[in-house]
Subunit: 158 residues, 2 copies
Amino acid sequence: MGRADLANTSCPVSRVIERVGDPWVLMILREAFLGTRRFDDFQVQTGVSPHLLSQRLKQLCEDEILQRRAYNAHPPRYEYLLTDKGRDLWPVIIALRNWGQTWLGGETITLTHKACGARIDPVMTCPDCGTPLGARDVQADLSPEFKQERKTRREGKG
Amino acid sequence: MGRADLANTSCPVSRVIERVGDPWVLMILREAFLGTRRFDDFQVQTGVSPHLLSQRLKQLCEDEILQRRAYNAHPPRYEYLLTDKGRDLWPVIIALRNWGQTWLGGETITLTHKACGARIDPVMTCPDCGTPLGARDVQADLSPEFKQERKTRREGKG
DNA sequence: AATGCTAACTTCAGATTTTGAAGCGTGTCA
DNA sequence: TGACACGCTTCAAAATCTGAAGTTAGCATT
């Protein structure tokens, strides 16, 4: 199948994975949320090679997750900023952080809710009733197309 | 630096990325949350090559995200189940789903909160005051070690 | 006017990883 | 005896990644 084909499935999760499901992309996003904007800073803080960084930043700009902007005309200098679309990936990074701190321990990133001042670990909740949510509290139903696609794959294998 | 070194940083996010920040691992997790348990089903539904699937499943078992269990002794047959640790990655997959449905459109996975019956899109909220949270509502503070590590990297580049 | 410096990349060869197809081992069922 | 299912393993070719070095554009210093 190949990784690129993930974009063409009926699954909303795989279509996202094709775009951001890459270790370096996730590292770049982490950095962006920590406030990093410049090529060399991304490079130093993530440890990615400049070649790959260049590719990934291009991709992310094409996907409108980051935006490349000149912050200086002479000499030409650019920075990479999160777009609204990119900023909306925050829950993904936070979910990773939460899991890391729960299950891997070690150093921490402390989060403070600016509005109420509390130190928090953000939680997935039901927007309707406000209850915290886990895998077992929610039922997932696939769209007919996605269901059909899965059935076809199952049958096509033999 | 290389991807394996992500495990040895002071950043809780990169340590997680080293373990689950891979497209195929994320696809395997998606499948696991959809109820898939068997090797061949993972293979067919994710499109990963059997070689890689085998590697990734091994990794995931070592990391105790999945558990390999015999469901039949003769002939020997195995299945892969989410552990508690693995099930706790649910918010990551849901965060990806949410973003996909908001920004990429297309087919959907409908989620229903079993307890209250509502169709929902789970939301990251403040456990203290119950407010929905976005990137700008929260301040992140790094542990002293992590800060120091970043400073060292910055200085070491020249 | 030559040298050095910074930032943002690009290039390239060697190493590593991934893909895709094929095959294997164990055991059941007809 | 033969066909089939499942859970993998093997291997070579293709693709990707790493790390070091180089490039470009312009400012600043000697």
